[in-house]
């Protein structure tokens, strides 16, 4: 049964009709890829374009020359350093905290049968569907009353909990795919419950945890609405809110905005790409074969 999921079985090569059709699909795929990636291309190329080409009525797909002026202006923009710091503090703390809580809950839901388990899962699924504004208004008022406006902790708590339901359900999906027999045999061989978790479950869970953390990190890093409402102090802006400072009454400095956006996106893209391989294996293969 392990062969049925492999994308390229030799059987396909034996069938000439498939290989002939493939050229057309491949061309179509390249066009699709170009369309999907175009905004990314435009972002990067615009950040390297001289400013006189950006403020031009005749936009060209390829710049006449490349320059780092836009990056220089972006980096010199006020509060760049503090914005990086804010984003890092808030998203990393939220993700680490969220993953710990989510893993504990996922183990409980995936490994035990207890009263309220189904209800908890349903609540977790349902809360993700709440519109952001339904949460924003009361959270803003509450943090305002508690002095949590302009403080990192307010934002951290919001981000941590907003990644929690999704991460729990996702990690649970990985937990239930780890056969209980593995854990049991480790315990028969003398492991404690903790030992079995650390030596057997955790390594098998790692791809799932990695994938869940990436989703959580990307969500926290990209969030701007709560950051915009809950943080009013310029020196505590997260990167996304900081991006808004490129738009003033006099217009938008698109060159610098694109350069700054590129800088912000690079870590996300790299992280996403690294994890993609792991995610794909996590998604397409079970931990135990046969």
């Amino acid at each position: 049964m392990s062969t049925s999921t492999a994308p390229n079985t030799p059987a396909q090569v034996l069938r000439p009709d498939r290989t002939r059709n493939r050229l057309g699909y491949n061309i179509l795929a390249l066009v699709t890829a170009a369309l999907m990636a175009f905004p990314v291309y435009w972002l990067i190329i615009s950040s390297l374009r001289p400013n006189h080409e950006i403020r031009s009525y005749d936009q060209t797909l390829w710049p006449s020359s490349l320059t780092f002026d836009n990056f220089a202006r972006a980096v010199k923009q006020d509060n760049f350093g503090t914005a990086i710091q804010s984003s890092l503090i808030v998203s990393v703390t939220a993700v680490v905290g969220g993953m710990i809580i989510a893993t504990l809950a996922a183990l409980a839901i995936g490994r035990f049968r207890f009263f309220g388990r189904k209800a908890l899962m349903m609540v977790m699924i349902l809360v993700q569907m709440l519109p952001p504004t339904a949460m924003l208004i009361p959270i803003y008022l509450q943090l305002n009353a508690m002095g949590g406006i302009d403080e990192y902790w307010g934002l951290i708590v919001v981000y941590l909990v907003s990644t929690l339901p999704f991460a729990t359900i996702m990690i649970r999906g990985f937990v239930i795919n780890i056969p209980v027999e593995l854990e049991e045999s480790a315990m028969v061989d003398g492991c404690t419950r903790m030992g079995a978790f650390r030596r057997v479950i955790f390594p098998l869970l790692a791809p799932g945890l990695a994938a869940a953390s990436i989703f959580a990190l990307v969500n926290a890093w990209n969030e701007y609405l709560f950051a915009y409402i809950l943080i009013n102090d310029n020196s505590k802006y997260t990167l996304n809110v900081w991006l808004m400072t490129f738009t003033t009454e006099r217009g938008t400095d698109y060159g610098a905005l694109m350069a700054a956006s590129t800088l912000i996106s690079i870590p996300v893209v790299i992280f996403f790409m690294i994890i993609q391989g792991k995610m794909a294996t996590g998604l397409t293969s079970g931990a135990v074969k046969g």
Binding site: A105, A134, L164, V180, I264, L283
Partner: protein, 336 residues
């Protein structure tokens, strides 16, 4: 339940993000692996494990939601920000005001139409691309995956900035390209957001573009679970390509498709950021969907109660979809 039953449970279920497990249609006992869960050991342990999660969710979801309900029956304005003054109870006044306001119904209609267009486009294009991915050479699939991941990983804020610039009236690429293609100079300086229909066209483009990677990658993961043998058997027995899809592929991917479609309905109903950011943080009234309408009532007009009441009505509207989603999950055994 014997070990043999567990072994017979077909290919190991695939964890698809937010989706249900996909087991091959050949698996006779779907729930076999789950039945092996421990039932006796550690009576209290699971409660300790879920305690932090419950506290966190209660603090950031349940409490604010309760607060939203309470505020909807009060009249909470600017004074509440400084914590002075009692907030008076007004019963159903907020709701009668809102439901009697033609603007509210206009906003609701706009939200539903916009959601429907986005969902149909996202799911249609997403399904086609994921079906195409099955038929690609490895290198082409890799390139497409990289493009999808690149698009997916782009922060919404950044993507919105790029689209805002692409559609810029003076220096936008879209206008330049249109002027070149049609040879008509009138496109230069064309303001896409003057007419809400065109403006929503750009917004839809951004929403659909941003949602496709998730849909494609999830659907593709589901599609790889369709047993090749079954498809081959069907085509040997004379099924057309459409027949194979309709009677072999579709039944396997249907639960994932329904799930992703339902999620899209909810996400696109709640679209906020794309509109907000493309309109420079100050959307005009004709660009308001329910989320933005509630936001502007709460934070621009500082009538938190009006905003809460609108948010609560939105939640009630969506609850039907949410219940349907839950039922789907229960049917596929996800909530077992």
């Amino acid at each position: 339940m014997t070990a043999a039953d567990t072994k017979a449970a077909g290919p190991p279920p695939v964890p698809v993000p937010r989706g249900p497990e996909v087991t091959g249609p050949s698996s006779p006992v779907k729930d076999a692996p789950r039945a092996k869960r421990q039932r006796k050991k550690g009576e209290l342990l699971p409660y300790f494990l879920i305690l932090p999660a419950i506290l966190a969710i209660a603090a950031v979801y349940v409490y604010p939601l309760a607060k939203t309900v309470i505020m909807s029956f009060q009249d909470m304005g600017r004074a509440a920000l400084w914590g002075n003054g009692e907030t008076p109870w007004v019963g159903f006044d907020q709701f009668t005001n809102i439901l009697g306001d033609p603007e509210f119904w206009q906003v609701t209609g706009r939200t539903i139409v916009f959601m429907a267009v986005c969902v149909v486009l996202t799911m249609g294009i997403g399904l086609l691309i994921s079906l195409m991915m099955l038929r690609l050479s490895t290198w082409a699939r890799l390139i497409l995956t990289v493009a999808l991941i690149a698009a997916w990983s782009m922060p919404l804020m950044v993507a919105a900035s790029v689209f805002r610039w692409l559609a810029d009236s003076d220096y936008g690429l879209i206008n330049t390209l249109l002027a070149d293609l049609t040879g008509d100079e009138k496109w230069l300086g064309h303001n896409w957001f003057l007419d809400p229909w065109q403006g929503f066209g750009i917004i839809t483009l951004l929403v659909v573009w941003g949602a496709i990677p998730f849909v494609v990658i999830t659907m593709y993961a589901a599609l790889t679970q369709v047993p090749k043998e079954l498809e081959e058997a069907a085509s040997l027995d004379g099924a057309t390509a459409f027949g194979v899809f309709r009677y072999v592929t579709w039944p396997v991917i249907k639960p994932v498709f329904t799930m992703v479609a339902t999620l899209s309905v909810i996400w696109d109903f709640n679209v906020f950021g794309q509109i907000w950011l493309l309109r420079g943080n100050k959307p005009e009234p004709e660009y308001e969907t329910l989320g933005l309408y509630s936001f502007s009532k709460a934070f621009e007009s500082t009538s938190f109660s009006q905003g809460s009441a609108i948010a609560l009505i939105t939640v009630l509207m969506l609850s039907g979809v949410a219940v349907y989603y839950l039922r789907q999950l229960i049917k596929t055994g996800e909530v077992e």
